[in-house]
């Protein structure tokens, strides 16, 4: 059984009006240890999906089974906390996730809520800070850090709860290019450490790092597969207002101009080779 199983899920913010459903009869499964990128433009329902998985929003119809627990049947606080400990979330605005005025106190917040022993909390805080490369900032005030650094602190705060899966809800959207690159490499490292990663984004380059890309449009799954499969369908992506990564777009333009080129670019050197073989050095 998959780590997260979503079956026939529908959700409307206005429950009486089903024409305005944000999520429409969506089914998706996420395997343990997988790195899935959820793509879609604003209002496509991808963030709503994340909030349904972690039980922040109530499930109206359909089913989500996370690590064997039926999320819609969770009634007690303990069960809900067990779910949220297992599946952590990192949000868009780093400022709205940090609770304390000292970095280490903020990272301790999650484990403190779980009732972990002080000594163990200390150990986790150190480990998480080391994992995100912010150990020397342990006693700094969050408001004096950069956006990327704050987001790494927010990630450390989730790591300290020892989750099995982390959902990044547009966690890079508000960062500058440097912060974005730092957070992306951190996400890859987290995935390599065996944690299931769900990365919600509308940055195509970031989706390239994933094992699987799921494109959501108007609450439905529009395209799903490996990055090379999804991004080869450039015309389909355009039809829902999305773009493929720039290099793949370049190849697509070349193909449209009559050149015979592959439909997907996995990286710069790859594309350079293709262009060189076409036009010479």
């Amino acid at each position: 059984m998959s780590f997260i199983e979503i079956k026939n899920l529908s959700h409307a913010y206005n429950e009486d009006d089903h024409r305005e459903e944000t999520i429409h009869d969506l089914s998706l499964s996420i395997e343990r240890g997988e790195f899935v990128a959820l793509l879609g433009h604003n209002g496509s329902g991808k963030s709503t999906l994340a909030k349904l998985i972690t039980g922040i929003l109530d499930i109206q119809s359909g089913q989500i089974i996370a690590d064997g627990t039926d999320v819609s049947k969770i009634s007690g606080e303990e069960e809900l906390f067990a779910l949220r400990r297992k599946i952590g979330m990192v949000f868009q605005n780093p400022d709205d996730q940090l609770v304390a005025t000292v970095v280490e106190e903020d990272i301790a917040f999650g484990p403190e809520n779980l009732g972990v022993e002080p000594q163990e909390i200390r150990r986790r805080v150190r480990n998480s800070l080391r994992a995100v490369g912010m150990l020397k900032y342990a006693r700094h005030a969050p408001h004096k850090l950069s956006g990327g650094q704050k987001q790494r602190i927010a990630i450390a705060g989730v790591l300290a709860m020892m989750p099995e899966c982390i959902i990044f809800d547009e966690a890079t959207a508000m960062l500058d290019p440097k912060g974005r690159a730092d957070v992306m490499s951190l996400i890859s490292r987290i995935h390599k450490a065996g944690i299931t990663v769900v990365h919600i984004t509308h940055n195509m380059n970031e989706a390239l790092a994933a094992d699987r890309v799921v494109v959501i449009n108007e609450g439905r799954i529009f395209l799903e597969g490996t990055p090379s499969y999804v991004f080869s369908h450039v015309d389909e992506l355009h039809s829902v207002g999305l773009e493929a990564p720039p290099l793949t777009e370049l190849l697509h333009a070349l193909a449209a101009a009559g050149y015979s080129v592959p439909a997907f670019s996995s990286g710069v050197s790859d594309t350079v080779d293709v262009v060189e073989s076409l036009f010479g050095k």
């Binding site: 972690t54 917040f109 809520n113």
Partner: protein, 280 residues
């Protein structure tokens, strides 16, 4: 520039005063306040004043920084001085100069002047001692934490002590964010021609309305998102919550408390028996 603001008046350091348990510091500050009020004679007040001016030295806080907390008191002290200079004379006082017109009677007396000076000193000492013991040498978060733990017994009568402490912490956390946001909104409005700095009070207040409304909206949005993030990190109030930092009283804490208590005792005895001019 706006990012450099410090929260409260905390002056980071590693002095003895910084290291005392924040709970103990609250208790010591209370003893100090009682001490200041017990020093009812000139000699005891002088002793307490000397002691108070030693505190910034112990806490290694620059005297200039400390003076900043006293400076705003100048108006209160001035008003006090004037009131006591004119109305402080009682029968039997040594009158230096007086003037009477119908029921208005103004008199300078030696006792009146002494009283005014003593009371002013007392206010300065009160503010100085508590701000050095608490605000300058304790971080706001440690203070909020200490208040939570000191008031913990109130939990039994259903006072939401933890929630109050959490509110203080979050407020402190969001002060710099909201200041930055205010700055941004004001710049945005100014770039579209808003004028915040000229005109009379009414005009300037009205100019601030387009600043406060977006600020209010964004605060609510921040609150909503923070609440979601806190829920995701399993927050449910104080129940079942442990703390990373355990506060434990050390021998030094007890020694400082004992010393302050001893000084308080000495001041009370001295004020009663050792003579000296009693200004109250």
């Amino acid at each position: 520039m706006i990012k450099d603001i410090t929260l409260g008046q905390y002056f980071p350091g590693g002095s003895l005063l910084h290291r005392i348990d924040p709970r103990m510091k609250i208790l010591v500050a209370m003893l100090f306040i009682i001490m200041v009020f017990s020093a009812t004679t000139v000699y005891t007040l002088a002793a307490v004043t000397v002691l108070t001016f030693l505190l910034p030295l112990i806490g290694r806080i620059p005297f200039k920084t400390v003076m900043k907390s006293i400076l705003p008191l100048k108006w209160i002290i001035l008003i006090m001085l004037i009131l006591y200079l004119f109305a402080g004379a009682k029968e039997g006082d040594r009158i230096l100069w007086q003037w009477q017109w119908h029921f208005i009677h103004i008199a300078f007396s030696v006792e009146g002047i002494a009283k005014a000076v003593c009371l002013s000193v007392r206010i300065v000492v009160l503010v100085l001692s508590t701000s050095v013991i608490l605000s300058y040498t304790t971080s706001p978060i440690a203070l909020a934490d200490a208040i939570e733990r000191l008031l913990a017994p109130l939990n039994r009568i259903k006072v939401p002590v933890h929630d109050f402490a959490m509110m203080i912490t979050i407020a402190l956390r969001f002060i710099p964010i909201l200041i930055e946001e205010t700055d941004k909104i004001m710049s945005a409005q100014a770039s579209r021609g808003a004028d915040f700095y000229t005109g009379n009070l009414v005009k300037r207040s009205k100019a601030l309305i387009p600043v406060f409304i977006p600020l209010f909206v964004s605060s609510v949005r921040h609150a909503d998102e923070l609440a979601t993030a806190m829920e995701c990190r399993c927050y449910r109030g104080g129940r079942g919550r442990t703390r990373m930092k355990k506060l434990t009283y050390t021998a030094v804490d007890y020694a400082v408390f004992a010393l302050t208590a001893l000084l308080l005792f000495a001041v009370i005895i001295a004020a009663d028996h050792a003579g000296g001019f009693a200004y109250l």
